[in-house]
Assembly symmetry: C2
Homo-oligomer: 425 residues x 2
């Protein structure tokens, strides 16, 4: 008998029939003797509908009280948990639903992007021991002043993993519309392979690089509290054998087993929505990085890659990337105030770039990955505009029209379509 | 400067434009220097939509967990309060919204028909003193175990009056789609007159008799806590002079002023959805009433009028009325078990009857009302099937096809189209 958390996304909860399917799946686990906590999202489209009403009232979203937005948005999950409880009860499985504040799921007061601070598992455990399925709203919590908060888009993944940590669940199963984590996007590389396992560090890099399977904060939580987390498909027959289910999808692990040691690269991640900006010949002095990025952070623009090369003749070129949607706003800010303030000779910008990354825990002990990556891209005639590396990741910025080509070439070069890459590098 | 509670029904909150109208009206009061608490209902149709989803999952409503129904249904008002807060903020009026549990509005645990036990006004007062409009979800509260409860249909009226009592508001304004309480339904009697004032006892009788303006429990609350409550229209121009508004509609009062003494009858109420059942020649012995009505109460059937005449030859005829929708169920129960058990000679039933009542605080000191009522009906050729009286009300059961005629004749006989009835009786 295991204690598991199931998380279901908005698509899995998208209609009465689908909610009934979720209930059948959960009941199957319960009938096999397991204790189950379920964390469902709002029915698909519901959160957008609710926030759409608010936007109709006040078209200027920036002015809108985030506290009130959370008051409204949090109702989507509250409806979901109630409906799922009724669906379970209708098939004879005792169930009880709780909102974030009832558990409680305590968060800070950052409305619309709150962070979970603690979860009280006492009430949940008591219900489980009494034979009930416990259904907890994803995406939301309560702040120290009893205000309802939401965790931001995708927050239900984080809720599920955090609940699993709080009740010390044996495993957190994230049911989604894909059947696991792939070596890269199967729509780009036809023979991309589903991984049975991935380390949480690799998953972190994959998630942050635009692989949309899991929300990145949920992976951080899984890592911090060592929650065994599995990504698997909810689109399979809910009556299938749960022993098979418990071994399907992709498991995020915390041990680097023998297999993993051998795999130099686990996957190729990519992101098209990139833009890069370079300030040329900035007089190099202490504080220049802060003087450039401070105003950008103050304008709530997220910066991704940051590159500063060695200075030459007392000046340096400073580059960074932002999300493409924020390119114009950023360029305006740089041109109007930042570049003059730091004395840059000129500013270059390009919003037609993409980022491609090779991710792998095995990279730590293999030196040749970078050169192999650069060689592969060079042979494909793809020019590298920026490079950035971490311990288990190498990212390059390239012209965006070459993105798919780069992903396919790298996937093949690192032999990712086969079970374990033993490619000598 | 006054402290007032505004209550808006689902129709008034039925669209983004209407919510913006409500906001303009509230802002007008605030800008005139008043402190305002608003209790809105869910957007019209929303509660039905939510409960409809639950019914799709479990067609057998009787089996459905009322706790989970409340979890789902309560979200409708939560969305309303958030949207109204945003609408107020958008026009520069500071506002904050609270759910029932946040105030808190404490209730018992009778899910779907909970009763308010206490309301903590401290947080509300603090916000008001800080210059904010406080918006509180109607229809809901929280039980001693932190479960969300709802008060049942129409519960928002009760919420508003209870909040007004808790914060000692100067007046509770119930904005609705009619402009006050009439001497009878204007659709039946063209020259029915809107009353400027009505005593709470009269309102109680009018409400319980099918005058749908106010939920009956809200009137009980108003009486118990002496909350000055006004029913008025939300369909007027929200920019109108609030001094006019504050004197419009119908005020429910607690003093019988001079005017009222003179008015013998205030209004004619009626209800078409009636059915009557008579057990003939029941052997008269102690406990017979309980033996008849006990099983009916146990089956959750509400009984309205109950009439038992003096016994003759050791037997009595026992009659009562139920809602027409429960007629078949009741007849089945009576015929199968109750009538044999009490030894009734036969059972008569009729589901084509209506109830017409004359209501008036002045009736207390005027003896001739009943005879005038019976005389009027007799002259109109209407046969009276049952009679029941209370201190301020006389009700008769008649054939339902005569209902409108009876209402019109009585309205005229008691001279209700004129401001004060001084008709000698």
């Amino acid at each position: 008998m295991a204690l598991v958390v199931h998380k279901y996304g908005g698509t899995s909860m998208g209609s009465v029939e689908r909610i009934q399917n979720v209930a059948r799946r959960v009941a199957k686990w319960v009938n096999a003797g397991h204790q189950v906590v379920v964390v469902p999202s709002a029915m698909s489209g519901e959160t957008n509908r609710l926030l759409g009403l608010a936007k109709e009232i006040n078209a200027n979203c920036a002015d809108m009280s985030p506290r009130e937005m959370d008051m409204i948005a949090s109702t989507g999950e509250q409806v979901s948990v109630g409906l799922l409880a009724i669906a379970l009860q209708a098939i004879g499985t005792p169930a009880v639903s709780y909102t974030g504040w009832q558990v409680p799921v305590r968060t800070n007061s950052a409305f619309m992007k709150a962070r979970i601070e603690s979860i009280d598992g006492v009430k949940v455990k008591k219900d489980l021991d009494a034979g009930r399925v416990v259904i907890i709203t994803g995406f939301q919590g309560v702040d120290p002043n009893n205000n309802i908060t939401t965790l931001g888009r995708g927050g239900s993944d984080t809720s599920a993993v955090a609940v699993a940590a709080a009740i010390k669940a044996d495993e957190c199963l994230i049911y989604t519309d894909v059947d696991g984590v792939y070596t890269t996007d199967p729509r780009v590389v036809g023979n991309a392979r589903r991984m049975d396992k991935i380390t949480f560090e690799e998953m972190l890099e994959m998630a942050s690089l635009g692989s949309k399977v899991l929300q990145i904060r949920s992976v951080e939580f899984a890592g911090k509290y060592q929650v065994k987390t599995r990504v698997l498909s909810s689109l399979t027959d809910p009556d299938m054998d749960i022993n098979i289910e418990a071994n399907s999808g992709t498991l995020i692990t915390f041990e680097e087993d023998e297999n993993m040691e051998k795999a130099v690269i686990s996957g190729i991640a990519f992101s098209r929505d990139e833009a890069k900006i370079t300030l040329n010949q900035v007089p190099d002095m202490p504080g220049v990085a802060f003087n450039i990025l401070g105003p950008i952070a103050a304008a709530n623009i997220d910066v991704d890659m940051i590159i500063q090369n060695q200075s030459k003749n007392g000046t340096t070129d400073f580059s960074f990337t932002v999300n493409r949607a924020e390119y114009n706003k950023t360029m305006e800010l740089i041109n109007s105030t930042v570049a003059p303030a730091v004395g840059a000779a000129s500013v270059d910008g390009n919003d037609k770039v993409a980022k491609v990354s090779a991710v792998g825990i095995g990279m730590r002990s293999h030196v040749g990955v970078a050169s192999k990556m650069f060689d592969t891209l060079s042979h494909a005639g793809i020019n590298i505009q920026m490079i950035s590396t971490s311990e288990i990741k190498i990212s390059v910025i390239i012209e965006d029209k070459f993105m798919e080509l780069a992903v396919r070439e790298l996937h093949q070069a690192f032999d990712l379509e086969n079970e374990v890459s033993t490619d000598a590098v």
